[in-house]
């Protein structure tokens, strides 16, 4: 791992560390009103008050970890499932066609409707429901990407020779095809992480997923939106946090998964 690669992962690690340590640094309790609703920044609340007058900075510091955990969970689940199914689809074309049709079906289903149906049918709703919805919706699309990337690898001489030479399916998947998909899978992971954040935000907009008084960046954006003219930080701060999170994670993933053959200039 050259130094240049490590440097690109630093922002993401810093942000995640800050989010994990957040609750400890929070000056006030997360659900304790300390100032007037949408109060502008003052000595007590450095970033002002949210809709109930709770300290925005404390909620910002402790609102990161749950969102990151959810998005991380979604990204990991979707990437591993997609890797397994995608490579399987490439190695077994007949099965691949069925997975392709399932992916088409999922792409037709509007994501927002999918989230609603899964989250509302889930007993008790909440964060787990949205994570499940995001995973179920994300997998077909991701399988399509992995299958497309795995197809040329599966057709190469070394995979065919290994198959003809007596290797079993799981060995072909794990040892022959998977190592050559590192770049695709890492890029997919970065993409699904950001997609996870996006889906939790849309769910929060539809009042699904994390419930008040939980502190969660996506939920904070929707809760404080009416008061944006009173205390712009109430929406700006969590939005910036989500933006930085997405950029830093993708920067890190692109750093680690530097393209195998350096891209040729035109």
């Amino acid at each position: 791992m050259t130094v240049r690669k490590l440097v690109r992962t630093v922002p993401a690690l810093l942000l995640v560390l800050l989010a994990l340590a957040g609750p400890l640094l929070a000056p006030h309790a997360v659900d304790q009103p300390v100032t007037a609703p949408y109060a502008t920044p003052d000595a007590v609340a450095t970033l002002g008050g949210d809709q109930l007058g709770r300290d925005l900075l404390s909620r910002l510091l402790s609102g990161g970890a749950p969102l990151i955990a959810t998005a991380l969970g979604i990204a990991l689940l979707v990437t591993t499932a997609a890797a397994a199914l995608g490579i399987l689809a490439a190695l077994r074309p007949r099965l691949g066609r069925w997975l392709e049709r399932a992916a088409d079906l999922a792409i037709l289903l509007p994501a927002v409707l999918g989230i609603m149906l899964v989250a509302l049918a889930w007993p008790g709703g909440g964060r787990l429901a949205v994570a499940a919805a995001a995973t179920v919706l994300g997998i077909p699309y991701a399988v399509r990407i992995v299958a497309a990337a795995a197809a040329p690898v599966a057709a190469t001489g070394y995979v065919e020779t290994a198959a003809a030479g007596g290797e079993r399916l799981w060995y072909l998947m794990v040892r022959e095809v998977l190592p050559n998909l590192r770049a695709t899978l890492l890029a997919l992971f970065g993409l699904r992480f950001v997609e996870g954040v996006y889906i939790v935000s849309i769910a929060a907009f539809l009042q699904l997923g994390p419930q008040p008084p939980a502190a969660d960046w996506a939920l904070m954006i929707r809760e404080n939106a009416p008061g944006i003219l009173l205390n712009p930080w109430a929406v700006a701060a969590p939005s910036l946090a989500i933006g930085l999170l997405a950029i830093s994670v993708n920067l890190a993933v692109e750093g680690i998964a530097a393209r195998p053959t350096p891209e040729s200039a035109l």
């Binding site: 190469t156 001489g157 070394y158 995979v159 065919e160 020779t161 290994a162 198959a163 003809a164 030479g165 007596g166 290797e167 022959e176 190592p179 050559n180 590192r182 195998p260 053959t261 350096p262 040729s264």
Partner: protein
């Protein structure tokens, strides 16, 4: 002062991959207008690297370690990008090793040639087509590279190169994979271009006929000491049965199709084949006659439409998934394309160790020795074990692929164009190794190749596929039938 104007001069040029193998050492060359200069030497000696150095386009990660290059008064290796681009656009021309893939598949022939033409008019286009002996009718100009034969593609690429009226023409293996008649035509064409247009031509080849036919000067590049190894015969103790044993692989009434649902066409119809231990069977035929399909069918990678297979008398399932591991060990395949034959993510040593552990579960410590032996048997130094495939040339990878097949100590070895990427003496070495195994260990060898002289010298029996089969090939060495 020589009155002859020098087009390009290379003195003691050495090029290496940063902390990697040496690609080229101490090459010296002078190119003058009107003369054809041939670069020969074994694969991996740096012919292509030298050509690309003249073009100022070294492979990624490679850099000049010594020597100078001047082309038309400039040093292409550190020319500013704008001038280098102009040099390549107007005064230099390069035709790559595989021009078929070098042509934009979506462009029509007319567009391909006029894109870089100094005179893009219709007449100019027709002159160029005539010059490279291509049909100049309107219908041909509208065809796309996909609709042309290999030879036609090569000549379109040549026309595209000549369109800009260059002063220096660089060609990499201009006649590889062509039948003899076409090769002579290309050679005469290059000769005429050099003399009539005062073009300086440099071409890399390992086809002796081309060199003798049109080259004025010859530069033979030698392998750097590290890569020079002549393949030694691997001494093995198993005794081969003296009398011709019963057939190891018997195939009766084989039939197969290729192509997807819409463009299915039959390739093999009602074919019988016997591979007996110790014999070498050559499989020849025009491209597309089903040579590769047959071999893949035997290896269980292609579903047969009709016919049955048997290995040593017991029926053999058509798909490799249904065969026992032992059956799959006894039949080994060496794939056609050397570039895709080895898993880029694993070292050569790991690739060769896997069959040993899978079939013989050889303990780890003995594997290293066995791998070194295998590498030596195919003429590669044992240090290659911890190298990655991208650090090897096409020929070297092909030899590793052969070593991997031999690691499983198979009874049947199916080779698909194994010498296509090898130069003559390396190829001879490999064929010698395989023949030795046939003789000593009763290996049944199936050799697919379009290199008729090779098949002629080494195959005991020859199976010809496809309708218009070439004239029967004499079995004795030396004579080559019409291509």
């Amino acid at each position: 002062m020589t009155t002859v104007r020098v087009t390009a001069r290379v003195t003691d040029l050495s090029i290496a991959i940063s902390d990697g193998p040496q690609l080229l050492t101490g090459a010296t060359l002078t190119l003058t207008p009107g003369r054809v200069h041939a670069l020969t030497g074994p694969s991996g000696a740096g012919k292509t690297t030298l050509l690309r150095a003249l073009l100022g386009a070294l492979p990624p990660g490679a850099r000049r370690t010594a020597g100078t290059v001047t082309v038309l008064g400039h040093d292409p290796l550190d020319l500013p990008e704008r001038e280098l681009r102009a040099l390549r656009r107007h005064r230099l021309a390069y035709v790559g090793q595989d021009p078929g893939s070098g042509l934009n598949p979506r462009m029509r022939v007319g567009r391909l040639i006029t894109e870089t033409a100094a005179d893009p008019s219709g007449q100019g286009l027709r002159d160029l087509l005539a010059q490279v002996r291509l049909p100049t009718d309107e219908q041909f100009e509208r065809r796309r590279p996909g609709e042309l034969s290999g030879g036609q593609q090569r000549r379109v690429a040549l026309a595209r190169a000549l369109a800009r009226r260059p002063e220096l023409l660089l060609l990499d293996e201009p006649t590889a994979g062509l039948d003899p008649a076409l090769r002579d035509e290309i050679a005469d064409l290059l000769r005429e271009l050099a003399t009539r247009h005062g073009l300086a031509v440099a071409l890399a080849t390992h086809d002796p006929r081309l060199v003798s036919r049109c080259a004025d000067d010859v530069l033979t590049l030698t392998l750097t000491p590290a890569t020079r190894r002549t393949p030694a015969r691997a001494p093995r103790t198993r005794t081969a049965p003296a009398s011709p044993a019963p057939a190891l692989v018997t195939a009766r009434g084989l039939g197969a199709y290729v192509g997807g649902r819409r463009d299915r066409r039959p390739v093999l119809t009602d074919l019988d084949l016997d591979l007996t231990p110790g014999t070498r069977t050559g499989i020849v035929g025009a491209s597309g006659s089903g040579k590769t399909t047959l071999v893949r069918l035997l290896a269980g990678l292609h579903p047969p439409a009709t016919g049955t297979l048997a290995l040593a008398g017991t029926p053999l399932a058509p798909s490799h998934r249904a065969r026992t591991r032992e059956q799959r060990r006894r039949i080994q395949l060496v794939p056609q394309n050397p570039l895709g034959a080895l898993n880029p993510a694993r070292t050569i040593g790991a690739t060769l160790t896997r069959p040993l552990r899978l079939h013989f579960s050889l303990p780890q410590e003995q594997c290293a020795a066995r791998v070194a032996g295998l590498l030596r048997s195919v003429g590669l130094p044992s240090e290659f074990a911890d190298r990655y495939p991208y650090e090897l040339s096409g020929g070297q990878r092909q030899r590793v692929s052969i070593a991997r097949a031999l690691a499983a100590e198979p009874d049947v070895l199916l080779c698909d164009e194994v010498t296509s990427a090898l130069d003559a003496d390396t190829a001879t070495g490999i064929m010698g190794l395989l023949s030795g195994l046939c003789a000593d260990h009763g290996l049944a060898l199936a050799l697919v190749s379009h290199d008729l002289p090779l098949v002629g010298t080494y195959a005991d029996t020859v199976l010809t596929l496809g309708g218009a089969a070439p004239a029967p090939v004499e079995l004795s060495q030396g004579r080559v039938g019409p291509g």
